[in-house]
């Protein structure tokens, strides 16, 4: 199951002038390579998803 984080913030109403800006077409910043510590249930879940090529939703089931 997705881990849902409940936040206590309450965003304010939109300014009347706001309309959704067009997508910038930019991507997120370049990624880095890291090495996971092969430990814990989250790592096991990660491996299961990646090994079986499952999406988060598929893995939830």
């Amino acid at each position: 199951m997705a881990h849902v984080v409940e936040l206590s913030v309450v965003p304010p109403p939109l300014p009347s002038s706001w309309s959704p800006p067009k997508p910038s077409g930019k991507s997120i910043s370049p990624l880095v390579s890291r090495r996971l510590l092969p430990a814990g249930p989250a790592f096991l879940a990660h491996v299961r998803r990646v090994v079986h090529d499952l999406s988060f939703e598929e893995h939830d089931k």
Binding site: E6, P11, P23, R34, G40
Partner: protein, 642 residues
């Protein structure tokens, strides 16, 4: 001493669920101390005491005549029987004889070149062998001779030399740990996760694995210390003050080393951002300072000169006695705020000694050590291009990290909200933050996890992922924090609205984050929800503030410029730090019409759920739903290509 006899009475109280949960344990194998953890009925793990009542079991083996002492009983042998007492062997695993420093003086058994094996270090000890036949080498290496062995009358034992490799010593020791675990559980241990320091290379890991194999237990995994910590901290509830996405500093102060790790913890997935090891600070240095303190006190009280650390030849014995005695003093200091005593019978020239030290004095004596640790921490965080303010949590590991004074000292450099086991009160009484058991407990939990993986073909790849340097541990991670911005009318300065970080920098991919919160839609009837998705630049702003001079301090004014101390004081600026966030790259925006809004006190509100999905390649999908009476409403999604 039959290890696999029938389950003894009282097994109903055995902490392992008898209904067939695996008999696996966790072993923290330090260079100086080891500990064992088992699983409880509740699925947690706890550190157990061995038959001597010790949870921290000294990595020491001593040969005394026909006897072999293993663990804490072997330590006092260092005084009278040092040349037959072996300590510090873990760090020699996988090392060649030619690689070892030769000049290190040692109170313990001499390390020699093995007579038969090329370039292999070995220990030579003097034992007594029962005559006439020597003991068969395969049997009672491990245990002190059993009563039955003594019962048969025989002739005098004969002195003999025994050569042991580092691996053999390790095997004897590990075997005794497993036996303690089996005695506790009342059944055979089927597998264990054993901790290793991050700096252990392939040869060292292989040597440890081999020694374990010779000790006849199955190593489920050699788990890096940081991995064990990640497991312990990922289990159970995250303290309310902490997020599941956080930066964790691990401060491990053992006997002979300081090991630091900076970890990115992201919903239980962890990796290391930086590590460092310093062999010049640890319990030994703490002991040195304490021993000096007490030796001085002894001289003052008895008028008998005693100089230690280093000690003259004639004072070596006294120093060794003090070294043993301060173990107790340190534990008392760590556990309770009152004064702690140190007592040694016949310390020197027949004089007994009893002295005390309180925490305040102790912390004063330890200040240089605390400072050295603080310096190493600063260097570590810098090496990861982060600021101390970026650290959310400190976790302490190792016996010498048990002192509240260390936490107080280090804590000053971090932001006020820094969470440590001392601030949350989980160190005392063997709580989850107890630095002396945290590694073993993590290993036991990991053992349980590994035992849960099936054995079939399907699962073999999953299993392999836990092997050293497995391909599956390689991941890509984000480098900037991504989040959502709810623009706000007339918002002055800052980001121009409500900022909610969703995917922190250093989050391994693929990842998913889901947040829910209420949105204020105002009084009007437009009921539109909208937000922008930004990548941000985070930093820490440091402002130098000169604190106002205290006016009623005439000394300061009169001060002549020559006095360096006062000079420093006058110029002393305080760093006032603050975390900063700046908008850097606009990525996308999302808007939807609220259909489930309700009016509360004249204002429309709705509950929103926002999901961020980042693929392994960095492609991003952002979705939002309203959460109404009947659950998720209609989904609106936008994406950002990789």
């Amino acid at each position: 001493m039959a290890a696999n006899g029938a389950i003894p009475n009282g097994s109903a109280d055995a902490p392992i669920d008898v209904s067939g949960s695996p008999n696996v344990v966790g072993i923290n194998f330090g260079n100086s101390y080891a500990s064992i953890a088992v699983l409880t009925k509740e699925g947690l793990s706890e550190c157990i005491a061995n038959e001597d009542g010790e949870r921290q079991i000294a990595c020491a083996i001593s040969f005394h005549g026909e006897e072999i002492y293993i663990g804490n009983q072997a330590k006092p042998q260092l005084i009278k029987n040092g040349h037959n007492t072996i300590v510090g062997f873990r760090n020699l695993l996988g090392k060649k004889f030619s690689e070892l420093p030769k000049d290190k003086p040692s109170a313990s058994a001499l390390i020699i070149q093995h007579p038969d094996l090329p370039d292999t270090p070995a220990y030579k000890v003097h034992v007594l062998q029962p005559a006439p036949k020597p003991l068969p080498p395969t049997t009672s290496n491990v245990n002190t001779p059993s009563a039955s062995a003594m019962a048969t009358p025989r002739s005098e034992p004969t002195p003999a030399e025994r050569i042991l490799t580092v691996s053999e010593v390790t095997t004897i020791f590990l075997k005794s740990l497993i036996k303690s675990a089996e005695d506790f559980l009342g059944k055979k241990v089927t597998g264990a996760v054993v901790s290793v320091p991050a700096w252990f290379d392939d040869a060292q890991r292989a040597a440890l694995a081999k020694a374990a194999e010779d000790a006849e237990f199955h190593v489920l995994q050699l788990l890096e210390d940081s991995g064990a910590i990640a497991v312990t901290t990922a289990y159970g509830a995250t303290p309310a003050e902490l997020s599941d996405d956080r930066t964790q500093l691990v401060v491990d102060v053992g006997q002979s080393s300081l090991e630091l790790a900076l970890l990115s913890i992201r919903q239980g997935l962890a990796y290391s951002l930086a590590t460092s090891t310093d062999f010049s600070v640890g319990g030994e240095q703490i002991d040195d300072k304490l021993i000096k303190f007490f030796a001085k006190d002894f001289t003052k009280k008895s008028k008998v000169p005693l100089v230690v650390c280093p000690a003259k030849h004639t004072d070596k014995r006294a120093e060794a006695k003090l070294r043993l005695a301060v173990e107790h003093t340190k534990r008392t200091l760590a556990a309770s705020p009152g004064a702690a005593t140190c007592s040694v019978e016949s310390l020197k020239d027949g004089f007994d000694y009893t002295g005390t030290i309180n925490r305040l004095r102790f912390d004063m004596e330890m200040k240089p050590i605390y400072e050295q640790i603080a310096t190493k921490v600063r260097e570590l965080v810098e090496s990861a291009s982060l600021d101390l303010y970026d650290v959310d949590e400190i976790v302490y590991v190792g016996g010498s990290a048990s002192f509240p004074g260390l936490d107080d000292y280090l804590g000053q450099a971090f932001h006020e909200g820094i969470v440590t086991p001392f601030t949350t009160g989980t160190v005392i009484g063997g709580g989850v933050g107890d630095p002396t058991t945290i590694l073993a407990r993590g290993c036991a939990l990991q053992a349980k996890l590994l035992a849960s993986i099936g054995t079939g073909e399907e699962e073999s790849k999953v299993r392999q992922a836990f092997e050293v340097e497995s391909e599956w541990t390689k991941v890509k991670a984000t480098t900037k924090t991504i989040g959502i911005l709810f623009p706000e009318e007339n918002s002055d300065g800052g980001l121009g609205g409500q900022w909610i970080p969703t995917i922190l920098m250093e989050t391994p991919l693929p990842c998913r984050r889901v947040h829910t919160f209420e949105v204020d839609l105002g009084e009007g009837d437009s009921k539109k929800v909208g937000f922008e998705v930004w990548e941000v630049k985070e930093g820490v702003k440091i402002e130098k503030v000169i604190p106002p001079k205290e006016e009623d301090d005439p000394e300061e004014v009169k001060e002549d410029a020559g006095d360096p101390e006062e000079d420093d004081d006058a110029e002393e600026e305080l760093d006032v730090k603050e975390k900063t966030v700046e908008k850097e790259t606009f990525l996308q925006s999302l808007s939807l019409e609220a259909k489930e809004a309700t009016k509360v006190n004249g204002r429309w509100k709705t509950k929103l759920e926002v999901q961020f999905l980042v693929g392994g390649d960095g492609g991003l999908e952002i979705s939002a739903w309203e959460i109404g009476k009947d659950g998720r409403g209609e989904k609106t999604s936008v994406s950002v290509s990789a």
